[in-house]
Every structure is written in structure tokens, then in C-alpha cells.
């Protein structure tokens, strides 16, 4: 297999504490060429598809979101009702927005805290050489990823429904409850269901990320450790975990960011309910922009922007915290 080192990605991660084995394959790319002559045309041709779509569907929308957020605009007719910071003013005092933000953050934090460790554990177990049926079990745990989130949501609304859903049927058969209870009737249990179903659904993706990370630890390092008499636990804590740490930071970041986008599951599982108590930011934006006439595009845009800022601050704060923690650990030698 060809070795591939995403060199620029590594720069975001601490550079100092890597073992020589890890440092070896990096950077075959010291010679990036200048383009000459006719090749310049090819350069433009190669960049064009990406740039066109990127400008149209990412950069321009970003700029437009900022622009719309200063208008009271319903999406119909010209954008001429400039309201300045009014949208922001209303959002800052909109309790539903803040409830959505809090719910989104709780959701993102809980799913990340649950899915990362257990998917790592599964990956460690499912990369053991002695284990039989690895392929089978990997497929099993990956399976929920192939059904659309929205469908997963609908299936679980049925499985969890109080009158004849599977969960209540099992609980009744075991004699634990005598009346069906409705997990969607309460904000906290509804949020918990969202978290658990989401973990169930996305688990396979993170398991595969971890498996990929684990497979990149060179076999020789384990062999050397085995010769020195290291047991499985020592190998795990002294070799595996430290060596996959740079990748782990990226996986954790992706995990949190992706969880902040949660939408389809909320639509199908709780529809923001009971009442509005499980609103998340995507759903809040959707409801304002497309949910009911008159559409409030300006308001939705301001909400989107405000949340992006909050998310960005939190994510970068996390990055800074991780880096500081690593530096402290270095200094104190722990």
C-alpha cells in the first residue's frame, strides 16, 4: 500500500512528541513546482470545477448569509427592507434560539463523549489478530450508517412508541412497567433518545476512522515492545493511544462539528417536541426559513451566523485547550 501523509494536516497537531517511526514517512513533497508556459492553462482547468462550485455554494452563500441578516426579507420580492442589527437584537432575546443552542451543544457534547470511546473500543477489539469473524462484526456495526438518518428516526418512533412499540413490549414482558411510557413526552428523555439513536446511527463511521488510525501504527513497534515484555495493556496505553493521538484530535473535532449539524433525526424523531423543547439550531433555522409563511430569511440568516460564530469559538477554544494540555503534560513530564 502506498504511504500517504497528509502533510499539511499534520501541522495542526503538535509536532514534537512523535516517535521516529511516525515521523519517517512524511513529506516527500519538498519540490512543489512552479507552473510554466502552457501548463498554466491546465492549472486553471484543473482548479475550475472546484472553484466554481466552491464559490457558488460555499463562499457566496457565506457572504450572502451575512448580507441577508441585516434585512427583513421573506424571500419574495426585492431585498430592500434594511433593518440593521435588528435581527440580531431579536435573536439575542429569543428564548427559543437559546434553547436550540443549548440543546445543540448538549447533543453534540453527549454524542461525542459516548460515540468516540465506544467506537474506539470496538475498533480495538475488531482489529485483534486472533479474533474470528472480524469482517462480519464490522459490517454489523457499520450497518446503521447505510440507512438514511430520517428513516432511522421513523423506525425508532415506532419501536419506542408507548402503546405497542418494541421497547415497551419488552419492558412489559419483563414486568418492569405495567403501563407504556412515552419517551418523547419529556424534554430530557427525548434528548437522550436523540443522542442514543444518533450514536447508533453514526457509530460505524467513527469505528472505521479508528480502525484506519490503528492500522497505521507500524507492526514493528508492537513486536519491539513484545520483546521488551510489554503486555497488552501496556501496549495499548504506551504505544497505541499515544501514536494515534494526532489522528484522534481530528476525529474528535469532526465528531463535534458533525454533531452540531444534527437535523434529519430531529425532524423525524421528535419534530422539536414535546412542544419546542428539543429544537436544535438547524431545525430552528429551517423552521424560520422554510417552515411557515411568511418566511423569515433575514432572521434565519442572522441565527445561522450567530450560531456559526458560537460554534467556531467553541471549536477553536477546544483546539487551544488540547494544545495547552499537551504542552503542560510535556513540561511536567506526565
Amino acid at each position: 500500500m502506498t504511504t500517504t501523509a497528509p502533510a499539511p494536516r499534520r501541522e495542526r497537531v503538535t509536532d514534537r512528541d512523535r516517535s521516529p517511526a511516525e515521523r519517517a514517512p512524511e513529506r516527500a513533497d519538498h519540490s512543489r513546482e512552479r507552473v510554466r508556459g502552457f501548463d498554466r492553462v491546465w492549472l486553471v482547468v484543473f482548479l475550475a470545477p472546484f472553484l466554481l462550485l466552491y464559490l457558488g455554494f460555499t463562499l457566496w452563500p457565506l457572504a450572502a448569509t451575512i448580507y441577508y441578516s441585516f434585512f427583513d426579507w421573506s424571500g419574495i420580492g426585492p431585498i430592500d427592507n434594511f433593518v440593521g442589527a435588528d435581527n440580531y437584537g431579536s435573536i439575542l432575546v429569543d428564548p427559543l434560539f437559546w434553547l436550540s443552542v443549548v440543546n445543540t451543544l448538549i447533543f453534540a457534547l453527549l454524542t461525542t463523549v459516548i460515540k468516540l470511546p465506544i467506537s474506539l473500543l470496538a475498533a480495538i477489539v475488531l482489529t485483534r489478530k486472533w479474533l474470528r469473524g472480524k469482517r462480519f462484526f464490522r459490517t454489523l456495526f457499520f450497518a446503521p450508517l447505510i440507512i438514511p438518518v430520517a428513516m432511522a428516526g421513523l423506525v425508532f418512533t415506532y419501536l419506542l412508541n408507548p402503546s405497542n412499540g418494541a421497547l415497551n413490549a419488552i419492558l412489559r414482558d419483563l414486568g418492569l412497567v405495567d403501563q407504556g411510557f412515552d419517551v418523547f413526552a419529556n424534554r430530557w428523555s427525548a434528548l437522550l433518545v436523540l443522542v442514543l439513536v444518533s450514536v447508533w446511527q453514526i457509530f460505524g463511521q467513527y469505528m472505521i476512522y479508528w480502525i484506519a488510525a490503528l492500522q497505521n501504527v507500524p507492526e514493528e513497534v508492537y513486536e519491539a515492545a513484545a520483546i521488551d515484555g510489554a503486555g497488552e495493556w501496556k501496549k495499548l496505553t504506551r504505544i497505541t493511544l499515544p501514536m494515534i493521538r494526532p489522528v484522534a484530535v481530528i476525529i474528535a473535532l469532526l465528531g463535534i462539528v458533525n454533531a452540531m449539524h444534527v437535523f434529519g433525526l430531529v425532524v423525524t424523531l421528535t419534530a422539536g417536541g414535546p412542544g419546542t423543547s428539543t429544537y436544535v439550531v438547524s431545525y430552528f433555522i429551517y423552521q424560520n426559513a422554510f417552515g411557515s409563511v411568511p418566511f423569515a430569511y433575514g432572521y434565519a440568516s442572522a441565527a445561522a451566523l450567530l450560531f456559526s460564530v458560537i460554534a467556531f469559538v467553541l471549536v477553536s477554544a477546544q483546539g487551544v485547550a488540547v494544545r495547552r494540555a499537551q504542552r503542560l503534560r510535556k513540561e511536567y513530564g506526565v
Binding site: 512543489r32 513546482e33 470545477p49 450572502a64 450497518a143 412499540g165 423525524t268 422554510f290 445561522a304
Partner: protein, 290 residues
Amino acid sequence: MAAITKTTGIDQAARRSHRTRANLIALPILAVIGLVWVYPFLWTISAAFKTQAGMFTSGASLLPDQLNFDNFVRAWVNAGFSGYFFNTVLYSVVSTLIELVKAALCGYVLARYEFPGRTLLYRMIVGTLFIPVASIIVPQFVLIENLGLLNTRAGVILAMSGGAGALYVLLFVGFFSSVPSDLFEAAKLDGAGFLKTFGLILPLAKPVIAVVVIFQFISSWNEFNIPLVFTLGQPDLQNLAVGMLSFQGEHATDWTGFAAGMTISFLPMLAIFLFFQNYFTRGLAGATKG
């Protein structure tokens, strides 16, 4: 010599029995967790064969009260699943192709060539990894509307492949950066130009291509937000994920038809994953190496 062979033999036997014991502990645990894990699938498949009445009384049971195929017929013919299915395949295939082409070309250039604005472009791509889709969907909607593509298949495809390609570009940049420069020198000595060189190097990127194809295919197959918003006025352009939702709304009691529709939609993905699984994990390991 004989002694050594003998000890290794005993060693191996001991290790083998150790492994068997480990398997005896691990396999049942994994089997139980695995069964719980895929229970919703099994339940859905079973419900697809149940009658309406049987479904409401069967609770957690996985055994259908009878084997009837009406549900599949109803879902496929009456509820428009054949259309949703066609849309889903079309959206997924085309958007995967677009993502692949744009990421491979852009990644190649970013990795191999120095040009004005390269660093800026690279940083911007990394930055967009963290933009929530929901925060830019309103202007995307306006753009598609202005292009006259609202409620068309082309509009959905454009929106689906216009967005989050950043991760894929980064994977390709990482891969092409790691190709030894000797290879490029050799190609140049043989007189290969820009395009020819790319053609020679691209096949080496198979692991990355596999990952991009599978990730993008799965995510566009499952895409919910974009098809929902961009087909609000034209339900027959919806994909399975969104169509399923309206199906539930319009046929509120037809859970067995819904289960049949769902079974139809996840079986192809399961087959694809089973077929490509090895390539996938190996590809991802190769693509993220380092």
C-alpha cells in the same frame, strides 16, 4: 535444532489454545451486542412481511405473522417508491462523480504546484470543514432559485455536490503530496506533459478514490436537508430519505408499507458495502496514513 523446533511447536499450540479461549469469550459478547445493534433492521425487514393487524399486536417480535409481499408491491407501485429509488440512485451517482472529479483535480494541483494564492486557497478549504450546512442553506436556495433550477433534479444534484467537498480535497492533497518526486521526474524524462503525468499518477490514488466514492455515495444516499428544501414544490423529485417522510405523513397508518419501502432502500446499500468492505477499510487506512 530438533529441540528448538519442538519448543516452538509447544509455544504455538499454547498460543493457539489461548486464542481459541479468547475467541470463546469475545464472540458470544460480540454476537449479543451485534444482535441488539441490528435489531431495528431485523424488525423492519420482518415488519415488511407483516399484515397491518399483525404489526400492531406483535410488539418486539421478529417473526412475521405471515409472509405476504403486498407491502412491497404497495410501497413500490402505489406510494411512489420506484420514483424515489430512481431519484436517489441518480442523485448519488452523479454527485459522487462530480465530487470525485473536482476533488481529484484540485487536490492534484494543490499538492504538486506552487501558484499565487495557493496557501490562501488551502486555508480556506480547511476553514470550510467547520461551516454548518444549515448556516448557508438559505442563500444556496436563493442561488438555485435564481438559476431557475428550483424543483429540478439538476438543482438538487448541484446543491448536493457544491458543498462539503473540503475533506475529499484534503485527502487527495495528502495523497499526491506523498507520491515520491522521482516518479514525476521519470514521467518528465519520458516526455509526459501535464495531462499525461496526471494520467500516470492518478491510478496510484485508488485507495483515496475508494474512500471518496464510498463516503460521498453514502452521504448523498442519506442526504435529507438538501432534497427536502430543494424539492418542496415537487415531491416526485424527492429521494428515499425525504420521500419516506411524506409517505409516513400521507399514509399515517401504513407502517408495513413503510417498512417494506425501507427494506427496499437499504438492501442495495448493504450489498454495496459488503462487496467493497475490504477495499474500504484498507483504502481509508491508506488515505489517512500518518
